[in-house]
């Protein structure tokens, strides 16, 4: 009971009512996902205490932040909030913006100005005023400011949408580690599936103010009836342990439940645990393993379930090894041509492998 966030808010919006009552894990990243205007920002504002919902219950671990009868004002809630629009203080330069919350934190956090600004690539901007920054630079400063305020929970409203690919690629792993190092929960709003799959531990899908689905990412991905599996870039996660590094070809071999998967680059020492995302679109199924192709990863699987995702395509849930499951998306025609049915033993040829957080 204690290591949980209980988030319950009911508040009328313009066209519908935000009505959320969820319990999410108090560790890891919870991604809030949903169409534009569905109430994500409003929910974050409720949690931060910026929007006062009448009917509310908010518990962060054992602390009660809000109940119908009591209300902890925003400034006493230890949140780090990254707003959707860059919201730097125009009268303070970058350093002072960054330190604004830092100075006011009761205990000093584990992060230093130096570390954060280096990571976010804003060290050369420290003396600038906000009106001399580009959009992405502002957003990075805002992220740094929230991190430095030593929060107990991090609320991030599309923090990376203004950032370019490589900056994102640098910041995401850092954010991933962050919640481990600081062991604080992160509630993260994003539209980018790439951010979902690389960061999320837990997913909450919001639609018109209501929670339409929620659960751990791994389960949500495999639930063929849940909305995630219908997305064009559906996929699945499997646990993996580094088993070998081929120095010559710079390839790391992972042992996964039921086989091995090879990934470019030197990922980590042998024995390192990782999580791998397999994109459903990029898995093909074959009755025999191809051996004259460049497909590196071929895994023996068994069909568990076939679900028609659209009139043209099927999602196929596959058993991998003992305890793992993966998702493949194939055309209905291929299914018929290969006469696939539940229980068939096949080879999954995997092209779309990406490493994600543990």
């Amino acid at each position: 009971m204690s290591k949980q966030l209980h988030i319950c808010f009911k508040t009328p919006l313009e066209h519908f009512t935000l009505d959320v009552d969820i319990k999410i894990p108090a560790t890891g990243v919870t991604v809030l996902f949903g169409p534009s205007g569905c109430g994500k920002t409003t929910l974050l504002r409720c949690i931060a205490g910026l929007h006062k919902a009448e009917n509310a219950q908010l518990r962060i671990n054992d602390d009660i932040w809000q109940e119908p009868a009591s209300y902890l004002p925003a400034y006493m809630r230890k949140v780090g909030y990254v707003f959707q629009e860059p919201s730097l203080f125009p009268h303070l330069n970058v350093t002072k913006n960054l330190l604004f919350g830092h100075k006011r934190a009761q205990q000093q956090g584990q992060l230093s100005l130096n570390e954060v600004s280096q990571l976010l690539g804003i060290s050369h901007l420290l003396q600038r005023m906000p009106n001399k920054l580009s959009g992405g630079e502002k957003q990075r400063v805002a992220i740094g400011r929230a991190l430095l305020s030593n929060p107990e929970i991090l609320l991030m409203d599309e923090p990376l949408s203004a950032l370019d690919y490589s900056t994102k690629a640098e910041i995401i792993p850092y954010l991933e580690q962050l919640h481990e190092r600081l062991s604080i929960p992160i509630v993260y709003v994003t539209h980018a599936l790439s951010e979902v799959k690389s960061m999320a531990d837990y997913i909450v899908l919001l639609e018109k103010g209501k929670v339409s689905a929620q659960g751990p990412l791994k389960e949500m991905l495999l639930d063929l009836t849940a909305p995630l599996a219908r997305f064009s870039n559906a996929g699945s996660l499997i646990d993996a342990i580094v088993s070998h590094y081929d120095k010559h070809y710079d390839l790391t071999e992972f042992s996964v439940d039921g086989g091995t998967v090879t990934v470019p680059g030197n990922i980590g020492a042998i024995g390192t645990r990782k999580r791998i995302h397999l994109s459903a679109n990029h898995i093909s199924l074959a009755r025999t393993p191809a051996n004259d192709s460049t497909i590196v990863n071929i895994l023996p699987v068994t069909i568990l379930e076939i679900d028609q995702a659209s009139s043209a395509q099927c999602n196929v849930r596959l058993q991998l090894g003992q305890d793992s499951q993966i998702l493949a998306r194939i055309t209905r025609r291929s299914k018929d041509q290969l006469a696939l049915s539940v229980g068939d033993q096949l080879y999954a040829q995997v092209k779309g492998v990406s490493l994600v957080k543990l």
Binding site: Y75, M76, N93, F100, G101, A105, N131, S149
Partner: protein, 222 residues
């Protein structure tokens, strides 16, 4: 004459400071709250402007004088009547110049909007802290305007001052009264001199305040 100059500066400075102390919270409250009550108060704040200064002074004289309960109360608090004293002058000037401080401040406060306050709250700044570290720095414009207008207006004010001050040299005879006296007693050369001095002095003070403010400010559009 030096008397009058010093007295005037003292009065204008003190009035401005007191107005800042009263005006800032009042303007903030007016800017942040809603409803008829606040609109009523907001309107009341402009009322000192409606009456001619001498008439306002007349009513202040009645209110602060020995015939009124308030006057008696204050009189016992301050150990003597407030009318015809410097303290009385300050009270009169403060009341008369109140709108000049409150209105610009309120507008500036309103133009800040909610977002900076929300951001400050998420960064653990208490409302008071936010006010000092965010709102006031963002309101330099209004603070400057309010202070300049109050200061200058107090310099030039004389109707109220004459009425409740009584033109007592060294205590309530400020420059504006002195120059008025000179004009009335046909000593125009003297009047020109003081008028020129006041104008020149205020001009330099205001201009340098403005320049200082501009220089120290690096904030542009957000």
């Amino acid at each position: 004459m030096l008397d009058a100059i010093l007295l005037t500066l003292k009065l204008a400075t003190l009035t401005t400071i007191i107005l800042l102390i009263i005006g800032i919270p009042l303007a903030w409250w007016l800017a942040r709250s809603r409803g008829l009550f606040k609109d009523t108060i907001a309107t009341l704040v402009s009322m000192p402007l409606v009456l001619p200064p001498t008439v306002l002074g007349f009513y202040l004289l009645i209110t602060l004088g020995p015939d009124s309960p308030l006057g008696n109360l204050l009189s016992s608090l301050f150990g003597g009547p407030l009318t015809f004293t410097f303290s009385g002058l300050v009270i009169g000037s403060v009341i008369f110049s109140l709108p000049f401080m409150v209105q610009p401040l309120r507008n500036t406060f309103e133009s800040i909007g909610n977002r900076p306050l929300e951001v400050a709250a998420t960064l653990r700044a208490s409302p008071l802290d936010t006010f000092f570290s965010v709102v006031l720095p963002l309101s330099r414009n209004g603070l400057l305007t309010g202070s300049i207008m109050s200061f200058v207006h107090t310099l030039g004010e004389f109707g109220v001052v004459l009425m409740i001050g009584g033109n007592i040299p060294g205590e309530t005879k400020v420059l504006s009264i002195a120059i008025y006296d000179f004009v009335e007693s046909l000593e125009w050369a003297q009047a020109h001199l003081i008028a020129g001095g006041m104008l020149g002095f205020s001009f330099i003070v205001i201009l340098s305040m403005t320049l200082l403010e501009r220089n120290s400010r690096k904030v542009g559009d957000v």
